[in-house]
Symmetry: C2
Subunit: 295 residues, 2 copies
Protein backbone atom coordinates (compact mmCIF):
# COMPACT_ATOMS: atom_id res chain seq x y z
CA UNK A 1 0.00 0.00 0.00
CA UNK A 2 1.26 3.40 -0.87
CA UNK A 3 1.43 6.49 1.29
CA UNK A 4 -1.50 8.80 0.56
CA UNK A 5 -0.30 12.39 0.16
CA UNK A 6 -3.19 14.40 1.55
CA UNK A 7 -3.60 18.04 0.60
CA UNK A 8 -4.93 18.89 4.06
CA UNK A 9 -1.54 18.23 5.67
CA UNK A 10 0.15 20.61 3.27
CA UNK A 11 -2.56 23.23 3.77
CA UNK A 12 -2.21 23.04 7.55
CA UNK A 13 1.53 23.68 7.44
CA UNK A 14 1.24 26.47 4.86
CA UNK A 15 -1.61 28.24 6.66
CA UNK A 16 0.16 28.12 10.02
CA UNK A 17 3.25 29.69 8.47
CA UNK A 18 1.14 32.41 6.84
CA UNK A 19 -0.72 33.17 10.07
CA UNK A 20 2.58 33.64 11.87
CA UNK A 21 3.74 36.03 9.13
CA UNK A 22 0.47 37.95 9.30
CA UNK A 23 0.81 38.31 13.06
CA UNK A 24 4.26 39.82 12.52
CA UNK A 25 2.82 42.11 9.85
CA UNK A 26 0.01 43.23 12.16
CA UNK A 27 2.51 43.86 14.98
CA UNK A 28 4.39 46.16 12.59
CA UNK A 29 1.16 48.06 11.97
CA UNK A 30 0.62 46.82 8.45
CA UNK A 31 -2.79 45.91 7.01
CA UNK A 32 -3.38 42.34 5.95
CA UNK A 33 -2.80 41.78 2.22
CA UNK A 34 -5.92 42.03 0.10
CA UNK A 35 -7.08 39.97 -2.86
CA UNK A 36 -9.49 41.35 -5.46
CA UNK A 37 -11.70 38.63 -6.93
CA UNK A 38 -12.95 39.76 -10.32
CA UNK A 39 -16.01 38.13 -11.82
CA UNK A 40 -18.41 38.86 -14.70
CA UNK A 41 -21.83 37.23 -14.37
CA UNK A 42 -22.73 34.47 -11.91
CA UNK A 43 -21.41 31.13 -13.15
CA UNK A 44 -22.09 28.44 -10.58
CA UNK A 45 -18.51 27.11 -10.46
CA UNK A 46 -17.09 30.64 -10.13
CA UNK A 47 -19.45 31.34 -7.23
CA UNK A 48 -18.52 28.07 -5.52
CA UNK A 49 -14.79 28.77 -5.83
CA UNK A 50 -15.33 32.35 -4.69
CA UNK A 51 -17.21 31.31 -1.53
CA UNK A 52 -14.47 28.83 -0.67
CA UNK A 53 -11.66 31.32 -1.27
CA UNK A 54 -13.32 34.15 0.65
CA UNK A 55 -13.89 31.87 3.65
CA UNK A 56 -10.42 30.32 3.65
CA UNK A 57 -8.70 33.68 3.21
CA UNK A 58 -10.70 35.07 6.14
CA UNK A 59 -9.68 32.09 8.28
CA UNK A 60 -6.02 32.80 7.53
CA UNK A 61 -6.53 36.51 8.20
CA UNK A 62 -6.27 37.78 4.63
CA UNK A 63 -8.64 40.31 3.13
CA UNK A 64 -10.70 39.70 0.00
CA UNK A 65 -13.04 41.91 -1.97
CA UNK A 66 -15.30 40.64 -4.73
CA UNK A 67 -15.67 42.83 -7.81
CA UNK A 68 -18.69 41.39 -9.61
CA UNK A 69 -19.98 42.87 -12.87
CA UNK A 70 -23.17 42.18 -14.82
CA UNK A 71 -22.93 39.41 -17.43
CA UNK A 72 -23.59 41.89 -20.24
CA UNK A 73 -21.07 44.58 -19.22
CA UNK A 74 -19.45 46.19 -22.25
CA UNK A 75 -15.79 45.37 -22.80
CA UNK A 76 -14.64 48.98 -22.51
CA UNK A 77 -16.55 49.47 -19.25
CA UNK A 78 -15.08 46.28 -17.81
CA UNK A 79 -11.55 47.25 -18.85
CA UNK A 80 -11.97 50.68 -17.25
CA UNK A 81 -13.11 49.08 -13.99
CA UNK A 82 -10.29 46.54 -14.19
CA UNK A 83 -7.71 49.29 -14.61
CA UNK A 84 -8.90 50.89 -11.37
CA UNK A 85 -8.46 47.61 -9.51
CA UNK A 86 -5.07 47.19 -11.17
CA UNK A 87 -3.94 50.61 -9.93
CA UNK A 88 -5.47 50.52 -6.42
CA UNK A 89 -2.55 50.51 -3.95
CA UNK A 90 -4.73 48.79 -1.31
CA UNK A 91 -5.12 45.73 -3.56
CA UNK A 92 -2.11 43.40 -3.55
CA UNK A 93 -3.35 40.58 -5.74
CA UNK A 94 -5.99 39.95 -8.39
CA UNK A 95 -7.82 36.73 -9.25
CA UNK A 96 -9.85 36.88 -12.47
CA UNK A 97 -12.45 34.21 -13.23
CA UNK A 98 -12.13 33.22 -16.86
CA UNK A 99 -13.58 33.02 -19.39
CA UNK A 100 -14.98 36.41 -18.48
CA UNK A 101 -17.88 36.74 -20.93
CA UNK A 102 -18.39 36.28 -24.69
CA UNK A 103 -18.17 40.03 -25.37
CA UNK A 104 -14.86 40.43 -23.49
CA UNK A 105 -11.50 39.38 -24.94
CA UNK A 106 -9.72 37.58 -22.07
CA UNK A 107 -6.39 38.24 -23.77
CA UNK A 108 -6.76 41.99 -23.16
CA UNK A 109 -7.07 41.35 -19.43
CA UNK A 110 -4.16 38.89 -19.43
CA UNK A 111 -2.00 41.58 -21.03
CA UNK A 112 -3.37 44.39 -18.84
CA UNK A 113 -2.97 42.78 -15.42
CA UNK A 114 -0.18 44.24 -13.31
CA UNK A 115 2.39 41.40 -13.22
CA UNK A 116 3.15 42.28 -9.59
CA UNK A 117 -0.50 41.62 -8.62
CA UNK A 118 -0.95 38.62 -10.89
CA UNK A 119 -1.03 36.06 -8.07
CA UNK A 120 -2.72 33.48 -10.32
CA UNK A 121 0.14 33.61 -12.87
CA UNK A 122 -1.71 34.54 -16.08
CA UNK A 123 0.42 37.47 -17.29
CA UNK A 124 2.98 36.93 -20.09
CA UNK A 125 5.59 38.50 -17.81
CA UNK A 126 5.05 35.82 -15.16
CA UNK A 127 4.85 33.12 -17.80
CA UNK A 128 8.18 34.24 -19.25
CA UNK A 129 9.69 34.17 -15.74
CA UNK A 130 8.49 30.62 -15.11
CA UNK A 131 9.91 29.65 -18.51
CA UNK A 132 13.22 31.31 -17.63
CA UNK A 133 13.39 29.60 -14.23
CA UNK A 134 13.16 32.99 -12.51
CA UNK A 135 11.43 32.49 -9.15
CA UNK A 136 10.61 36.18 -8.68
CA UNK A 137 7.32 35.79 -10.57
CA UNK A 138 4.05 33.98 -9.90
CA UNK A 139 3.32 30.47 -11.15
CA UNK A 140 -0.17 29.25 -11.96
CA UNK A 141 -1.53 28.02 -8.60
CA UNK A 142 -2.16 24.40 -9.56
CA UNK A 143 1.38 23.93 -10.85
CA UNK A 144 2.75 25.47 -7.65
CA UNK A 145 0.42 23.23 -5.60
CA UNK A 146 2.02 20.12 -7.10
CA UNK A 147 5.44 21.40 -6.07
CA UNK A 148 4.19 22.16 -2.54
CA UNK A 149 2.85 18.60 -2.14
CA UNK A 150 6.11 17.04 -3.36
CA UNK A 151 8.14 19.32 -1.08
CA UNK A 152 5.93 18.66 1.94
CA UNK A 153 6.39 14.92 1.44
CA UNK A 154 10.17 15.42 1.29
CA UNK A 155 10.45 13.96 -2.20
CA UNK A 156 13.71 14.95 -3.83
CA UNK A 157 13.56 15.97 -7.47
CA UNK A 158 17.19 16.31 -8.50
CA UNK A 159 18.00 13.85 -11.25
CA UNK A 160 14.59 12.17 -11.01
CA UNK A 161 12.78 11.10 -14.15
CA UNK A 162 9.37 12.80 -14.21
CA UNK A 163 6.60 12.23 -16.73
CA UNK A 164 4.13 15.11 -16.91
CA UNK A 165 1.08 13.92 -18.83
CA UNK A 166 -0.81 16.92 -20.21
CA UNK A 167 0.67 20.04 -21.79
CA UNK A 168 -1.73 22.83 -20.85
CA UNK A 169 -0.47 26.35 -20.25
CA UNK A 170 -2.02 26.39 -16.76
CA UNK A 171 -0.56 23.13 -15.47
CA UNK A 172 1.59 20.85 -17.64
CA UNK A 173 3.91 23.40 -19.19
CA UNK A 174 4.60 25.60 -16.14
CA UNK A 175 4.92 22.54 -13.90
CA UNK A 176 7.53 21.11 -16.27
CA UNK A 177 9.55 24.30 -15.89
CA UNK A 178 9.22 24.30 -12.08
CA UNK A 179 10.40 20.68 -11.96
CA UNK A 180 13.25 21.45 -14.37
CA UNK A 181 14.35 24.35 -12.19
CA UNK A 182 14.75 21.77 -9.42
CA UNK A 183 16.93 19.58 -11.64
CA UNK A 184 14.37 16.91 -12.49
CA UNK A 185 14.57 15.31 -15.95
CA UNK A 186 11.12 16.02 -17.35
CA UNK A 187 9.30 14.42 -20.27
CA UNK A 188 6.23 16.34 -21.33
CA UNK A 189 3.67 13.81 -22.62
CA UNK A 190 0.36 14.41 -24.39
CA UNK A 191 -2.33 12.93 -26.59
CA UNK A 192 0.11 12.31 -29.46
CA UNK A 193 2.70 10.53 -27.33
CA UNK A 194 3.28 6.97 -28.52
CA UNK A 195 3.41 4.11 -26.00
CA UNK A 196 2.53 6.35 -23.08
CA UNK A 197 2.31 3.49 -20.53
CA UNK A 198 5.92 2.41 -21.14
CA UNK A 199 7.14 6.00 -20.97
CA UNK A 200 5.29 6.59 -17.70
CA UNK A 201 6.70 3.34 -16.26
CA UNK A 202 10.22 4.69 -16.88
CA UNK A 203 9.47 7.56 -14.51
CA UNK A 204 10.18 7.99 -10.80
CA UNK A 205 7.40 10.56 -10.57
CA UNK A 206 4.21 10.59 -12.64
CA UNK A 207 2.06 13.72 -12.79
CA UNK A 208 -1.33 13.43 -14.45
CA UNK A 209 -2.94 16.66 -15.68
CA UNK A 210 -5.00 15.50 -18.62
CA UNK A 211 -8.60 15.94 -17.52
CA UNK A 212 -9.83 12.42 -18.33
CA UNK A 213 -11.24 10.35 -15.49
CA UNK A 214 -9.17 7.28 -14.58
CA UNK A 215 -7.14 7.45 -17.81
CA UNK A 216 -3.95 6.21 -16.17
CA UNK A 217 -4.17 2.68 -14.76
CA UNK A 218 -1.77 0.15 -13.28
CA UNK A 219 0.24 -0.29 -16.49
CA UNK A 220 1.40 3.35 -16.29
CA UNK A 221 3.03 3.10 -12.90
CA UNK A 222 6.47 1.90 -11.93
CA UNK A 223 6.34 0.03 -8.59
CA UNK A 224 7.21 2.50 -5.86
CA UNK A 225 6.74 5.59 -8.06
CA UNK A 226 5.26 8.84 -6.76
CA UNK A 227 1.94 9.59 -8.46
CA UNK A 228 0.47 13.12 -8.41
CA UNK A 229 -3.05 13.40 -9.75
CA UNK A 230 -4.09 16.89 -10.84
CA UNK A 231 -7.30 15.81 -12.60
CA UNK A 232 -10.69 16.77 -11.21
CA UNK A 233 -13.31 15.07 -13.37
CA UNK A 234 -17.00 15.11 -12.47
CA UNK A 235 -19.11 12.09 -13.43
CA UNK A 236 -22.84 12.07 -14.18
CA UNK A 237 -23.70 11.45 -10.54
CA UNK A 238 -21.56 14.40 -9.44
CA UNK A 239 -18.75 12.17 -8.18
CA UNK A 240 -15.16 13.44 -8.43
CA UNK A 241 -12.46 11.35 -10.10
CA UNK A 242 -8.82 12.00 -10.84
CA UNK A 243 -6.96 11.24 -14.06
CA UNK A 244 -5.45 8.23 -12.28
CA UNK A 245 -7.32 5.02 -11.49
CA UNK A 246 -6.65 5.35 -7.75
CA UNK A 247 -7.89 1.86 -6.81
CA UNK A 248 -5.52 0.25 -9.32
CA UNK A 249 -2.61 2.60 -8.65
CA UNK A 250 -2.67 2.56 -4.86
CA UNK A 251 -1.14 -0.89 -4.54
CA UNK A 252 1.70 -0.14 -6.99
CA UNK A 253 2.72 3.45 -6.27
CA UNK A 254 5.03 4.35 -3.41
CA UNK A 255 2.99 7.48 -2.73
CA UNK A 256 -0.10 8.93 -4.36
CA UNK A 257 -2.32 12.00 -4.05
CA UNK A 258 -6.08 11.34 -3.70
CA UNK A 259 -8.92 13.02 -5.62
CA UNK A 260 -10.67 14.76 -3.99
CA UNK A 261 -8.43 15.82 -1.11
CA UNK A 262 -5.14 16.11 -3.00
CA UNK A 263 -3.74 18.80 -5.29
CA UNK A 264 -7.02 20.73 -5.58
CA UNK A 265 -7.13 21.24 -1.83
CA UNK A 266 -3.81 23.07 -1.88
CA UNK A 267 -4.43 25.64 -4.63
CA UNK A 268 -6.22 28.19 -2.43
CA UNK A 269 -3.34 28.17 0.04
CA UNK A 270 -0.94 28.71 -2.87
CA UNK A 271 -3.06 31.68 -3.95
CA UNK A 272 -2.87 33.02 -0.40
CA UNK A 273 0.91 32.50 -0.25
CA UNK A 274 1.37 34.28 -3.57
CA UNK A 275 -0.78 37.15 -2.28
CA UNK A 276 1.53 37.44 0.74
CA UNK A 277 4.54 37.50 -1.58
CA UNK A 278 2.93 40.19 -3.77
CA UNK A 279 2.21 42.32 -0.69
CA UNK A 280 5.77 41.85 0.58
CA UNK A 281 7.25 42.92 -2.75
CA UNK A 282 4.88 45.90 -3.02
CA UNK A 283 5.67 46.89 0.58
CA UNK A 284 9.38 46.61 -0.07
CA UNK A 285 9.12 48.76 -3.20
CA UNK A 286 7.00 51.30 -1.36
CA UNK A 287 9.66 51.36 1.32
CA UNK A 288 12.33 52.04 -1.28
CA UNK A 289 10.23 54.74 -2.94
CA UNK A 290 9.43 56.25 0.44
CA UNK A 291 13.12 56.31 1.33
CA UNK A 292 13.92 57.99 -1.96
CA UNK A 293 11.18 60.52 -1.48
CA UNK A 294 12.35 61.35 2.03
CA UNK A 295 15.92 61.72 0.86
CA UNK B 1 26.65 5.80 -43.18
CA UNK B 2 24.17 8.44 -42.20
CA UNK B 3 22.81 11.25 -44.32
CA UNK B 4 24.61 14.50 -43.56
CA UNK B 5 22.10 17.33 -43.11
CA UNK B 6 23.98 20.32 -44.47
CA UNK B 7 22.95 23.81 -43.44
CA UNK B 8 23.84 25.17 -46.87
CA UNK B 9 20.96 23.29 -48.52
CA UNK B 10 18.47 24.79 -46.07
CA UNK B 11 19.96 28.27 -46.51
CA UNK B 12 19.72 28.02 -50.31
CA UNK B 13 16.01 27.16 -50.20
CA UNK B 14 15.19 29.80 -47.57
CA UNK B 15 17.13 32.55 -49.32
CA UNK B 16 15.53 31.83 -52.70
CA UNK B 17 12.08 32.05 -51.13
CA UNK B 18 12.97 35.34 -49.45
CA UNK B 19 14.39 36.82 -52.66
CA UNK B 20 11.15 36.00 -54.46
CA UNK B 21 9.16 37.69 -51.69
CA UNK B 22 11.44 40.72 -51.82
CA UNK B 23 10.97 41.00 -55.56
CA UNK B 24 7.19 41.02 -55.01
CA UNK B 25 7.64 43.65 -52.31
CA UNK B 26 9.77 45.83 -54.59
CA UNK B 27 7.20 45.48 -57.41
CA UNK B 28 4.59 46.79 -54.97
CA UNK B 29 6.83 49.83 -54.33
CA UNK B 30 7.84 48.82 -50.82
CA UNK B 31 11.33 49.29 -49.39
CA UNK B 32 13.27 46.20 -48.37
CA UNK B 33 12.98 45.40 -44.65
CA UNK B 34 15.77 46.84 -42.52
CA UNK B 35 17.65 45.31 -39.59
CA UNK B 36 19.33 47.48 -36.94
CA UNK B 37 22.43 45.81 -35.53
CA UNK B 38 23.16 47.29 -32.11
CA UNK B 39 26.62 46.95 -30.64
CA UNK B 40 28.56 48.49 -27.73
CA UNK B 41 32.34 48.33 -28.07
CA UNK B 42 34.24 46.18 -30.59
CA UNK B 43 34.33 42.58 -29.41
CA UNK B 44 35.98 40.39 -32.03
CA UNK B 45 33.20 37.79 -32.17
CA UNK B 46 30.51 40.49 -32.45
CA UNK B 47 32.42 42.10 -35.33
CA UNK B 48 32.81 38.76 -37.09
CA UNK B 49 29.10 37.94 -36.79
CA UNK B 50 28.20 41.48 -37.86
CA UNK B 51 30.33 41.31 -41.01
CA UNK B 52 28.76 37.98 -41.94
CA UNK B 53 25.20 39.15 -41.32
CA UNK B 54 25.64 42.47 -43.18
CA UNK B 55 27.05 40.63 -46.20
CA UNK B 56 24.43 37.86 -46.26
CA UNK B 57 21.54 40.27 -45.76
CA UNK B 58 22.85 42.38 -48.66
CA UNK B 59 23.07 39.27 -50.85
CA UNK B 60 19.41 38.49 -50.12
CA UNK B 61 18.44 42.11 -50.74
CA UNK B 62 17.72 43.11 -47.14
CA UNK B 63 18.92 46.34 -45.55
CA UNK B 64 21.07 46.54 -42.44
CA UNK B 65 22.37 49.46 -40.42
CA UNK B 66 24.96 49.11 -37.70
CA UNK B 67 24.47 51.21 -34.56
CA UNK B 68 27.82 51.02 -32.79
CA UNK B 69 28.46 52.82 -29.50
CA UNK B 70 31.67 53.41 -27.55
CA UNK B 71 32.53 50.71 -24.99
CA UNK B 72 32.19 53.22 -22.14
CA UNK B 73 28.82 54.73 -23.12
CA UNK B 74 26.71 55.54 -20.06
CA UNK B 75 23.66 53.34 -19.54
CA UNK B 76 21.18 56.22 -19.77
CA UNK B 77 22.74 57.46 -23.01
CA UNK B 78 22.63 53.98 -24.49
CA UNK B 79 19.00 53.49 -23.47
CA UNK B 80 18.03 56.84 -25.01
CA UNK B 81 19.70 55.85 -28.29
CA UNK B 82 18.09 52.43 -28.14
CA UNK B 83 14.64 53.95 -27.70
CA UNK B 84 15.09 55.94 -30.90
CA UNK B 85 15.96 52.77 -32.81
CA UNK B 86 13.00 51.03 -31.18
CA UNK B 87 10.63 53.78 -32.35
CA UNK B 88 12.07 54.34 -35.84
CA UNK B 89 9.36 53.23 -38.32
CA UNK B 90 12.01 52.54 -40.99
CA UNK B 91 13.58 49.85 -38.80
CA UNK B 92 11.72 46.54 -38.83
CA UNK B 93 13.97 44.38 -36.71
CA UNK B 94 16.67 44.78 -34.07
CA UNK B 95 19.62 42.52 -33.25
CA UNK B 96 21.44 43.39 -30.02
CA UNK B 97 24.88 41.93 -29.31
CA UNK B 98 24.98 40.81 -25.69
CA UNK B 99 26.39 41.17 -23.14
CA UNK B 100 26.38 44.86 -24.01
CA UNK B 101 28.93 46.24 -21.52
CA UNK B 102 29.60 45.96 -17.79
CA UNK B 103 27.92 49.30 -17.04
CA UNK B 104 24.72 48.41 -18.93
CA UNK B 105 22.03 46.12 -17.51
CA UNK B 106 21.07 43.82 -20.42
CA UNK B 107 17.75 43.10 -18.72
CA UNK B 108 16.64 46.71 -19.25
CA UNK B 109 17.17 46.31 -22.99
CA UNK B 110 15.44 42.92 -23.05
CA UNK B 111 12.41 44.52 -21.40
CA UNK B 112 12.56 47.67 -23.53
CA UNK B 113 12.80 46.09 -26.97
CA UNK B 114 9.64 46.40 -29.08
CA UNK B 115 8.38 42.77 -29.23
CA UNK B 116 7.32 43.35 -32.84
CA UNK B 117 10.93 44.18 -33.81
CA UNK B 118 12.53 41.55 -31.60
CA UNK B 119 13.60 39.28 -34.47
CA UNK B 120 16.16 37.52 -32.26
CA UNK B 121 13.49 36.48 -29.73
CA UNK B 122 14.85 38.01 -26.49
CA UNK B 123 11.73 39.85 -25.23
CA UNK B 124 9.60 38.30 -22.43
CA UNK B 125 6.58 38.77 -24.70
CA UNK B 126 8.11 36.57 -27.39
CA UNK B 127 9.36 34.10 -24.80
CA UNK B 128 5.84 33.80 -23.36
CA UNK B 129 4.48 33.23 -26.87
CA UNK B 130 6.96 30.43 -27.56
CA UNK B 131 6.03 28.91 -24.19
CA UNK B 132 2.33 29.18 -25.05
CA UNK B 133 2.84 27.58 -28.47
CA UNK B 134 1.73 30.83 -30.13
CA UNK B 135 3.51 31.11 -33.49
CA UNK B 136 2.83 34.83 -33.90
CA UNK B 137 6.01 35.74 -32.00
CA UNK B 138 9.73 35.35 -32.69
CA UNK B 139 11.77 32.38 -31.50
CA UNK B 140 15.48 32.59 -30.70
CA UNK B 141 17.19 32.05 -34.08
CA UNK B 142 19.18 28.94 -33.16
CA UNK B 143 16.10 27.10 -31.90
CA UNK B 144 14.22 28.04 -35.08
CA UNK B 145 17.23 26.93 -37.16
CA UNK B 146 16.99 23.42 -35.71
CA UNK B 147 13.32 23.27 -36.73
CA UNK B 148 14.18 24.52 -40.25
CA UNK B 149 16.80 21.78 -40.70
CA UNK B 150 14.41 19.04 -39.53
CA UNK B 151 11.64 20.39 -41.78
CA UNK B 152 13.93 20.70 -44.80
CA UNK B 153 14.96 17.08 -44.36
CA UNK B 154 11.29 16.07 -44.21
CA UNK B 155 11.62 14.55 -40.74
CA UNK B 156 8.22 14.16 -39.11
CA UNK B 157 7.98 15.09 -35.44
CA UNK B 158 4.50 13.95 -34.42
CA UNK B 159 4.73 11.32 -31.70
CA UNK B 160 8.53 11.12 -31.98
CA UNK B 161 10.65 10.80 -28.85
CA UNK B 162 13.10 13.68 -28.76
CA UNK B 163 15.89 14.20 -26.24
CA UNK B 164 17.04 17.81 -26.00
CA UNK B 165 20.32 17.87 -24.10
CA UNK B 166 20.89 21.33 -22.66
CA UNK B 167 18.31 23.62 -21.02
CA UNK B 168 19.44 27.14 -21.92
CA UNK B 169 16.91 29.89 -22.46
CA UNK B 170 18.30 30.60 -25.94
CA UNK B 171 18.23 27.05 -27.30
CA UNK B 172 17.14 24.07 -25.19
CA UNK B 173 13.99 25.49 -23.58
CA UNK B 174 12.51 27.30 -26.60
CA UNK B 175 13.41 24.41 -28.89
CA UNK B 176 11.57 22.01 -26.56
CA UNK B 177 8.46 24.17 -26.89
CA UNK B 178 8.75 24.38 -30.68
CA UNK B 179 9.08 20.58 -30.86
CA UNK B 180 6.16 20.13 -28.46
CA UNK B 181 3.99 22.42 -30.60
CA UNK B 182 4.63 19.94 -33.42
CA UNK B 183 3.49 17.02 -31.23
CA UNK B 184 6.89 15.54 -30.42
CA UNK B 185 7.34 13.95 -26.99
CA UNK B 186 10.25 15.90 -25.57
CA UNK B 187 12.57 15.10 -22.68
CA UNK B 188 14.65 18.06 -21.57
CA UNK B 189 17.99 16.70 -20.31
CA UNK B 190 20.79 18.51 -18.52
CA UNK B 191 23.86 18.18 -16.35
CA UNK B 192 21.88 16.60 -13.46
CA UNK B 193 20.18 13.97 -15.65
CA UNK B 194 21.05 10.45 -14.53
CA UNK B 195 22.05 7.80 -17.08
CA UNK B 196 21.96 10.27 -19.95
CA UNK B 197 23.28 7.77 -22.56
CA UNK B 198 20.36 5.36 -21.99
CA UNK B 199 17.84 8.19 -22.10
CA UNK B 200 19.30 9.50 -25.35
CA UNK B 201 19.29 6.00 -26.85
CA UNK B 202 15.51 5.84 -26.25
CA UNK B 203 15.07 8.83 -28.56
CA UNK B 204 14.23 9.00 -32.25
CA UNK B 205 15.79 12.45 -32.44
CA UNK B 206 18.71 13.69 -30.36
CA UNK B 207 19.47 17.41 -30.14
CA UNK B 208 22.71 18.42 -28.47
CA UNK B 209 22.94 22.00 -27.20
CA UNK B 210 25.32 21.70 -24.27
CA UNK B 211 28.43 23.54 -25.35
CA UNK B 212 30.94 20.76 -24.61
CA UNK B 213 33.05 19.45 -27.46
CA UNK B 214 32.35 15.83 -28.45
CA UNK B 215 30.42 15.15 -25.20
CA UNK B 216 27.96 12.78 -26.87
CA UNK B 217 29.54 9.65 -28.33
CA UNK B 218 28.31 6.40 -29.87
CA UNK B 219 26.65 5.17 -26.66
CA UNK B 220 24.15 8.08 -26.81
CA UNK B 221 22.73 7.26 -30.21
CA UNK B 222 20.03 4.82 -31.22
CA UNK B 223 20.86 3.22 -34.59
CA UNK B 224 19.07 5.20 -37.27
CA UNK B 225 18.32 8.19 -35.03
CA UNK B 226 18.41 11.77 -36.27
CA UNK B 227 21.19 13.74 -34.54
CA UNK B 228 21.15 17.55 -34.53
CA UNK B 229 24.28 19.15 -33.16
CA UNK B 230 23.89 22.76 -32.02
CA UNK B 231 27.26 23.00 -30.28
CA UNK B 232 30.01 25.22 -31.63
CA UNK B 233 33.10 24.66 -29.50
CA UNK B 234 36.47 26.13 -30.37
CA UNK B 235 39.60 24.19 -29.46
CA UNK B 236 43.03 25.59 -28.70
CA UNK B 237 44.08 25.40 -32.34
CA UNK B 238 40.95 27.32 -33.42
CA UNK B 239 39.22 24.19 -34.73
CA UNK B 240 35.43 23.95 -34.46
CA UNK B 241 33.76 20.96 -32.82
CA UNK B 242 30.16 20.11 -32.10
CA UNK B 243 28.74 18.62 -28.89
CA UNK B 244 28.53 15.28 -30.72
CA UNK B 245 31.51 13.08 -31.57
CA UNK B 246 30.76 13.20 -35.28
CA UNK B 247 33.25 10.50 -36.28
CA UNK B 248 31.71 8.04 -33.82
CA UNK B 249 28.09 9.08 -34.47
CA UNK B 250 28.16 9.14 -38.24
CA UNK B 251 28.11 5.36 -38.64
CA UNK B 252 25.21 4.91 -36.18
CA UNK B 253 22.83 7.83 -36.83
CA UNK B 254 20.35 7.78 -39.68
CA UNK B 255 21.00 11.47 -40.29
CA UNK B 256 23.31 13.99 -38.63
CA UNK B 257 24.15 17.69 -38.89
CA UNK B 258 27.85 18.54 -39.25
CA UNK B 259 29.81 21.16 -37.28
CA UNK B 260 30.73 23.48 -38.88
CA UNK B 261 28.26 23.64 -41.75
CA UNK B 262 25.14 22.59 -39.87
CA UNK B 263 22.79 24.50 -37.54
CA UNK B 264 25.06 27.52 -37.20
CA UNK B 265 24.97 28.10 -40.95
CA UNK B 266 21.19 28.49 -40.89
CA UNK B 267 20.78 31.04 -38.07
CA UNK B 268 21.44 34.15 -40.23
CA UNK B 269 18.77 33.05 -42.71
CA UNK B 270 16.35 32.56 -39.81
CA UNK B 271 17.16 36.09 -38.64
CA UNK B 272 16.45 37.32 -42.19
CA UNK B 273 13.17 35.39 -42.35
CA UNK B 274 12.06 36.78 -38.99
CA UNK B 275 12.93 40.28 -40.23
CA UNK B 276 10.68 39.70 -43.27
CA UNK B 277 7.89 38.54 -40.95
CA UNK B 278 8.32 41.61 -38.71
CA UNK B 279 8.16 43.91 -41.74
CA UNK B 280 5.05 42.12 -43.03
CA UNK B 281 3.26 42.47 -39.69
CA UNK B 282 4.29 46.13 -39.37
CA UNK B 283 3.16 46.79 -42.94
CA UNK B 284 -0.14 45.08 -42.32
CA UNK B 285 -0.71 47.12 -39.16
CA UNK B 286 0.24 50.31 -40.97
CA UNK B 287 -2.28 49.36 -43.66
CA UNK B 288 -4.98 48.91 -41.04
CA UNK B 289 -4.14 52.19 -39.35
CA UNK B 290 -4.02 53.90 -42.72
CA UNK B 291 -7.45 52.54 -43.58
CA UNK B 292 -8.83 53.71 -40.25
CA UNK B 293 -7.34 57.14 -40.71
CA UNK B 294 -8.87 57.45 -44.15
CA UNK B 295 -12.29 56.39 -42.88
Amino acid sequence: MSAVLKGADVVKEMNEAMMAQLAARAAAGQDAPKLAIVRVGKRADDLAYERGAVKRFANIGLRTEVYAYPADIRQEDFLAAFRQINDDPDIHGILVFRPLAPQIDDQLVIEAINPGKDVDGISPVNMAKIFAGDSSGFAPCTAAAVMAILDHAGISLKGKRVAVVGRSLVVGKPLSMLLLARDATVTLCHSKTLDLPALCRESDILVACVGKAKLLGAEYIRPGAVVVDVGINVDEEGGLWGDVDFAAAESIAGAITPVPGGVGTVTTSILARQLMKAADIAGHQQGINGALMRY
